[in-house]
């Protein structure tokens, strides 16, 4: 059980660190983001004076200057955060940051989640096969995957849009669903889901193409290493069928490091898809982040950053629990 305790403790510390980083960044870096943000809000509200409540929300998120000690600010920040209050957006005034994030988050989670799982499974299966057939022409496929890995997500997205949407007209150019067909926004109907899936094909393809190489390469290399382990030789010597040796003995053990590295790779996928969402104008969290950064909407930016971090942490935590279940050794050697 101490494995799980250690993991929970680690993620609690990381959670605290991430939130504190979120608190410290606007305060320690040069500049006065709170003043900029309040100015933007005043303009967004049409010159009317802002309410006490709004000003307090902004100063507790972005820094209150010299009037308050850093510690008092920290306490106030936590208090606000625990109420789920992330302030008001200036680019989409008067929408609250929390509402904007709640609307955008499902798009990214579903898109990135599904694409990552597809890419992971593809990479593991193909990687295991290429590793099994080591020493054949398949080995030459491996360097090719590194090319795909080195392509920036957003550039691949640009090329896909240029070819499949602009030239061939097969897929929509922008958006997460057909805004003309569903002007009222997302709804729960088969027609809407179909439209969303249709719009998600190119973004998902981008993620899969860009990330599958990493999984494939890692799995292939582990497979090659595993195949020279004694227990694989033993399994072969026992006269087990090659299929059984491949699936039950080699692949299973070779896949463990890929699972362990899942969380870290996820960080890259998230980073890549943030930029990619800009290309497709996908209504997800990345687009929101970019909007916030470009419009100097610091409250929205801080909120989105926090939510991205928390989501990645949650995914990592989940993978760690699964990992402890799959590979009992880490539970005992902790």
């Amino acid at each position: 059980m101490s494995f799980y305790l250690r993991r929970v403790a680690f993620y609690l510390v990381t959670l605290w660190a991430a939130i504190s980083l979120n608190f410290l960044l606007p305060r320690l870096l040069p500049g006065d983001p709170a003043a900029i943000m309040l100015g933007k809000l005043r303009r967004a509200s049409g010159g009317r004076p802002l309410s006490e409540e709004t000003i307090e929300a902004i100063t507790s998120i972005l820094g209150a200057g010299k009037d308050m000690s850093l510690w008092d600010q920290y306490v106030a920040y936590w208090g606000r955060l625990l109420q789920g209050d992330l302030g008001v957006s200036s680019t989409r005034y008067p929408a609250s940051v929390a509402d904007l994030i709640a609307a955008a988050l499902p798009w990214t989670i579903i898109l990135v989640g599904v694409a990552t799982v597809i890419s992971f499974l593809l990479g593991i299966v193909i990687g295991a096969w290429v590793g099994w057939r080591r020493g054949t022409w398949l080995d030459h496929l491996v360097p090719v995957t590194t090319v795909f890995q080195s392509i920036p997500y957003f550039w691949l997205a640009l090329v896909l849009v240029a070819v499949f949407s602009v030239q061939l007209g097969l897929f929509p150019i922008v958006g997460g669903y057909d805004v003309f067909e569903f002007p009222a926004g997302p709804e729960l109907s088969w027609a809407f889901i179909g439209s969303a899936v249709y719009h998600a094909i190119l973004p998902a393809t981008t993620i899969v193409l860009s990330s599958v190489g990493g999984w494939l390469l890692g799995m292939r290399n582990m497979m090659v290493s595993t195949m020279s382990e004694d227990y694989v030789v033993t399994a072969e010597a026992k006269g087990l069928t090659p299929r059984r040796v491949r699936t039950k003995y080699a692949s299973r053990n070779a896949a463990i490091p890929s699972l362990a590295g899942f969380g870290i790779a996820l960080g890259f996928v998230v980073a890549g898809s943030i930029v990619m969402e800009q290309v497709f104008s996908y209504p997800g969290i990345g687009k929101l982040m970019i909007q916030a950064v470009q419009g100097l909407d610091y409250a929205l930016m801080q909120g989105v950053f926090l939510v991205i971090t928390l989501t990645v942490l949650a995914a990592n935590f989940f993978m760690d629990l699964i990992y402890g279940f799959i590979d009992p050794r880490v539970r005992h050697n902790g």
């Binding site: 990381t14 991430a18 040069p30 080195s150 392509i151 694989v232 960080g267 943030i274 950053f305 990645v312």
Partner: protein, 365 residues
């Protein structure tokens, strides 16, 4: 091979195709063993023959796929040369006297942008800018990785716990959002002057956020090295920890350091491209990312001006692939299994095909 089974192997090596007809019978061995030796001899001979046909007896010592290394070095070398000398021969990158949005022609090899800039010239300057950022960020990241990885791995104890905890925290917090947030604050701060949106600052931010993965790898290796006897001997001889790290440990980490540095450069070049594409890149200088940003704002995709946005991406992809190929070759030196196992499998398959008594099905065929 010779060390583990001296007698058997030497006998077979000497006899070669002579299948040991005379030598084994002088000693009292059973017929069974003779048949075994024969098989061994044929297999060894087959391997030797295969080796001989594939160019020299040292072939198996060198990285077998040095083709990867050569390809990687050539690609990276060409791009580096282009980045260094390209700007000298190309026209000024912001010369807007050309006609706008021209497709590639003899006059403008890669066409022109919406503002009439020559894309080839932009590409040369952009390559230089991106390489600079990649190098600086790679060095910064490597230094931090050595501090957090090697020091933690070597000293162990509480220091290790603290450094590793910090490394792991940085590792799980997604990098690009942090970079975006930092860039958004720093670039709009007053008082930083021209530094605020310089490529040096972008490189520093990318370096500071990109070291954690390398630190984990280096720590694991340093932990294993510190238990080696020569390190213990240095410690007993009274050498100071700093000297042990720099003289005994780091030289043994050189392949890993090189690999991690290359990763750092790839990460930084890709990161810079993403940042600049979003409009958070350096404003003063041209990079491959700022070119893509210009193409985005200039509607290059919608208007079909492929010559504007395809070349910068291709250079990034080629640079990344070239660096990855070099890393590949390094990987095969560090982890010999990656090199030897496919070779052995290939040899065995060839021997099986020639009908030399090796099983031709199963995991090892």
């Amino acid at each position: 091979m010779d060390d583990s089974q001296p007698t058997l192997d030497r006998a077979t090596d000497d006899s070669g195709y002579a299948t040991g007809d005379d030598a084994p019978f002088q000693s009292p061995v059973s017929a069974e063993a003779v048949r075994e030796t024969n098989r061994e001899a044929t297999a060894t001979a087959a391997i030797a023959a295969a080796r001989a046909t594939r160019g020299g007896r040292f072939r198996h010592v060198l990285p077998s796929r040095s083709g990867k290394l050569v390809a990687g070095v050539v690609i990276v070398g060409l791009i580096t040369l282009f980045g260094i000398f390209g700007p000298m021969i190309a026209q000024p990158p912001r010369d807007s006297s050309n006609e706008a949005l021209q497709p590639p022609s003899a006059e403008h090899w890669l066409g022109t942008t919406k503002l009439g800039y020559d894309v080839f010239s932009q590409l040369a300057w952009g390559t230089q800018g991106s390489l600079f950022i990649g190098l600086v960020a790679g060095i910064v990241a490597l230094l931090l990785a050595v501090i957090f990885g090697v020091f933690a791995g070597y000293f162990g104890g509480v220091l290790d716990e603290v450094l590793t905890l910090f490394t792991n925290i940085v590792l799980v917090i997604p990098g690009l959002p942090v970079v975006m947030v930092i860039a958004a604050y720093v670039q709009n701060a007053e008082g930083l002057g021209p530094l605020a949106r310089s490529s040096l600052l972008v490189a520093l931010v990318l370096g500071i956020t990109g070291w954690a993965g390398s630190a984990v790898v280096l720590r694991a290796q340093a932990r294993s090295l510190r238990t080696r006897e020569y390190v213990a001997a240095a410690r007993v001889a009274g050498e100071k920890p700093g000297r042990i790290i720099f003289v005994e440990i780091l030289p043994n980490l050189v392949p890993l350091l090189a690999a991690q540095f290359i990763f750092g450069v790839i990460f930084a070049v890709l990161g810079e491209a993403g940042l600049s594409y979003l409009g958070l890149g350096p404003t003063g200088s041209i990079t491959l990312g700022t070119m893509l940003n210009d193409a985005q704002t200039g509607q290059a995709v919608g208007t079909g001006a492929w010559w504007w946005f395809v070349p910068p991406g291709l250079v990034i992809a080629a640079l990344g692939a070239g660096l990855a190929l070099i890393n590949f070759a390094i990987d095969e030196v560090v982890n010999p299994k990656l090199r030897l196992a496919p070779e052995n499998a290939k040899r065995q398959r060839r021997a099986a095909k020639a009908g030399r008594g090796v099983a031709d099905t199963g995991a090892f065929a």
